[in-house]
């Protein structure tokens, strides 16, 4: 038996923060509440029944907890489970829960609740947005109050990481119905009130089992308009806006000693997604030509105000297993033209480019279109709403090119799904992912992940643009927020006023 206490994917932090020295002008009295700005409002607050990032951005680590959790550097730490044992065949995980944990309604959190939550997530009628996380579970057994035994159908080296997702948090059967509207979790903050369209208010949980948090209350305020976000932060209505929607105004905050501008990285690989089954694009030469036509830095500067890290494959650069393959698809328009000629498109080619609403796609799309035009590829741009995009592009696969950020952590396995919208179908890659699923040895996993990154880069499956950065503005006296976003969260457990 190996007893493992932590880290599955230790991740080195990207030291990109632009901290400002200087005196702060804030008031002297001790503050015990903080207001966090968010661009999107969560549709509801049940992280186990929806994909909206905004749900986890409110409740992850604050209201709900799982067996394990992500830390700000992307590593995985124990949460409700203080430790776990893995059987030698890698099939049985025995989680040891903290004793004396209670839900916000006072009821005890025990092994039965864990069994209930995991069984609910993998049930046939489950509406869990990440149901695949639980697909490998064969049985869950509550051994005693604080011991849960999970049996897998095949060894899974990433199982403990999967349990750190927001979609895998533990709920009680008595309060699961109200999770969407008035969640009852076990975290250091209790849900207090939700003024829909405006804000969600949390208060400190006095009976929290772990370290008490510094804040007595916290408010998440939803402001979608970039101008309004600027005004709200400037006026002091918002103490921190981690995913600040108006990067063009960041210079004003950098110059102001009352604020810190914090730039971190996310799990969002932003790609020029390519329909590998479309007529012209099924030819790898055309896809390679597109890759060489793209000038990543120009897109990052032009569409993202310089925030973003170029990527050459579908993997987060801050991950220790990342391989920098940007050189393989370097900006080389002459090479593009040659490849297009070899593929029989020397007289030009017209492709559709369907863009969802985020500015990385809309602004980035215009630049990509200009870059493609320079090598002889014309694009027909259409701007879609999310619902239309999901219908036409994601489900209907009716597109040639699109730009989208894949924000789930460690999602290179989507390339093993032949029916996924970009329709990459390669048996070797699928075998590689199967091998990865059952591999628990860190060194071998790392080698497999590197091989996978190389394979999709060699096949030029998609145009790999940049890793989405997260630029935020924070009151200079408010400390303890995450700089990077290894998962979609605003973890307030360490947040305090100076």
């Amino acid at each position: 038996m190996r007893r493992i206490f932590a880290l599955q994917f230790p991740t080195r932090t990207l030291a990109a923060s632009l901290m400002l020295a200087g005196a702060s002008l804030g008031m002297a009295q001790a503050q015990t509440s903080a207001t966090i700005g968010m661009q999107l409002e969560p549709p509801h607050l049940d992280p186990t029944a929806g994909a909206a990032a905004a749900i986890d951005e409110v409740v992850y680590a604050n209201v709900f907890e799982g067996l394990t959790r992500y830390r700000s550097d992307g590593s995985v730490a124990p949460a409700l489970a203080e430790s776990w044992d893995i059987s030698d065949d890698g099939l049985t995980y025995t989680f040891h829960l903290h004793a004396g944990v209670t839900f916000h309604d006072g009821s005890a959190l025990n092994a039965e609740d864990v069994k209930f939550s995991l069984d609910r997530a993998r049930a046939e009628d489950s509406t869990n947005a990440q149901k695949a996380l639980f697909a490998g579970i064969e049985a869950v057994e509550a051994v005693d109050d604080t011991t849960v035994k999970v049996t897998l159908s095949a060894p899974d080296g990433a199982f403990v990481t999967k349990m750190a997702w927001g979609d895998a948090v533990i709920l009680a059967p008595e309060s699961v119905e109200q999770a969407a509207t008035a969640p009852v979790g076990s975290g250091p903050f209790k849900f207090d009130r939700w003024v829909r369209g405006d804000r969600v208010e949390l208060v400190r949980n006095p009976d929290y089992w772990g370290d008490a948090v510094a804040l007595e209350s916290a408010t998440f305020k939803f402001i979608s308009d970039p101008n309004a976000a600027f005004a709200a932060v400037m006026a002091g209505d918002i103490d921190a806006f981690p995913g600040y929607p108006a990067p063009e105004t960041l210079a004003a905050f950098e110059a102001d000693p009352r604020f810190d501008v914090v730039v971190g990285s996310t799990e969002g690989e932003t790609i020029l997604s390519t329909n590998n089954k479309a007529e012209a694009l099924s030819d790898v030469r055309v896809r390679e030509a597109i890759a060489h036509a793209i000038n990543r830095q120009e897109i990052i500067d032009g569409a993202m105000f310089g925030f973003g890290t170029p990527i050459g494959t579908h993997f987060a650069p801050h991950n220790p297993d990342y391989v920098d393959l940007t050189g393989q698809s370097n900006y080389d328009p002459e090479r593009s033209k040659e490849l297009l000629k070899a593929a029989g498109y020397e007289n030009g080619l017209t492709l559709t480019l369907k863009l969802p609403p985020p500015s990385y796609a809309r602004r980035g799309g215009e630049i990509v279109a200009a870059q493609l035009r320079a090598v002889g590829i014309e694009t027909e741009i259409s701007n879609l709403e999310w619902a239309q995009w999901l219908e036409q592009v994601f489900r209907g696969k009716d597109f040639d090119l699109t730009i989208v950020s894949h924000t789930e952590p460690m999602d290179i396995n989507i390339y093993a799904r032949p029916g996924y919208y970009f329709q990459y179908d390669k048996a070797e890659f699928q075998d590689l992912m199967k091998a990865l699923d059952v591999e628990a040895d860190p060194a071998k996993r790392s080698a497999l992940l590197k091989q996978a990154q190389k394979m999709i880069a060699d096949d030029y499956v998609n145009g790999y643009l940049f890793q989405l950065a997260r630029a935020g503005v924070v009151n200079a006296k408010l400390k303890g927020l995450w700089q990077n976003a290894p998962t979609q969260a605003n973890d307030l457990t360490a947040v305090h006023w100076q």
């Binding site: 549709p43 509406t127 947005a129 308009d225 209505d237 709403e385 489900r395 999602d411």
Partner: protein
């Protein structure tokens, strides 16, 4: 008068029914599946099917339409797909901002437009009239979101007299709520007041040339006295028409201003619901707005009768 009222009421019900059918069919035609929007890129087909069934998205449209109308008649607006709470509660929550804001803006519109329009009419062709007309032209031409941002920067960020946005709710008392709504109400009211002042001016000018005005002056009333006592009533008919339309606009069309001042009003709710394909919320909100517009128009029609007894006969 009774026949007049009955006729108005029947027209109102018929309009509502037609509107409900149009709204339902149009929204049913909009592409986009609420379930896949909610579950995102990694959802499995089974999870989607389960959610679709849970939301009641399957079944032929006439059946779903009738179920919706039957619910509306019982006062049950249904559950929001995304928020999973009753739609009626959402709408009431939003009306607590949108209605006071619309009334506040309407009040400012009247307070500005009536005197300004009358002064312009009374001092026709003087420099006062010309500058008022110029300013109202500017008020109409100016994009109201731009004007709103200027107000916000000046009064909230620089002078710090008023909050930059947000709405504290009514539970903290009248004063914080009113101060929060002041800048948005001004931003909304100014263009409307400019329009109304111009209508007021031309309407007053027209009545000034009527025979009864000359008679009023002839029997010894002053120019101002004749205007207030005899002219104003007659001049109000076109002004009321415009005012009714403006109220409907202020209630439903404040969304841009709501965005600038991060207020969560009805316009915002509709906008977000559309982008999230929360069709049941969109349908119900639009019905509420249609009802408000029709009700206000009916009310305006009835007021014509009060202002001008001649119209009661028809």
């Amino acid at each position: 008068m009774l026949a007049f009222l009955t006729a108005r009421l029947l027209t109102m019900i018929a309009s509502l029914l037609v509107a409900s059918l149009v709204i339902f069919i149009m929204l049913d035609l909009v592409p986009g599946d609420p379930a896949s929007l909610m579950l995102g890129l990694n959802a499995t087909p089974e999870a989607l099917a389960a959610l679709r069934e849970q939301l009641g998205l399957d079944g032929p449209w006439p059946q779903r339409y009738l179920a919706w109308i039957a619910g509306l008649l019982r006062g049950d607006f249904g559950l929001s797909y995304t928020y999973r709470v009753p739609v009626s509660g959402l709408i009431i929550e939003r009306l607590a901002i949108s209605l006071p804001l619309a009334l506040y803006a309407l009040g400012l519109t009247v307070v500005i437009a009536f005197p300004v329009g009358m002064i312009a009419a009374a001092t026709r062709r003087s420099w006062g009239d010309v500058s008022i007309m110029g300013l109202t032209q500017l008020g109409i031409a100016m994009p109201n979101f731009w004007f709103a941002i200027q107000l916000q920067v000046l009064f909230a960020l620089v002078l710090r007299w008023l909050p930059a946005g947000s709405f504290p709710g009514w539970q903290d008392g009248l004063w914080p709520a009113l101060t929060a709504l002041t800048l948005p109400a001004i931003a909304l009211a100014l263009p409307q007041a400019s329009i109304l002042a111009r209508v007021m001016r031309s309407s007053v000018l027209e009545t000034l040339h009527q025979d009864y005005m000359r008679s009023a002056r002839a029997k010894g009333l002053s120019a101002a006295g004749a205007l207030v006592k005899h002219g104003l009533r007659n001049a109000l008919i076109p002004v009321l028409t415009i005012l009714g339309l403006q109220f409907a606009f202020l209630l439903a069309g404040a969304i841009i201003i709501e965005n600038v001042f991060y207020l969560s009003g009805l316009g915002n709710l509709v906008f977000k619901a559309i982008s999230q394909r929360d069709l049941i919320v969109v349908r119900s909100c639009v019905m509420v707005l249609v009802f408000a517009v029709i009700a206000v128009n009916t009310l305006v029609d009835l007021t014509y009768g009060l202002v001008d007894p001649r119209l009661r006969k028809h």
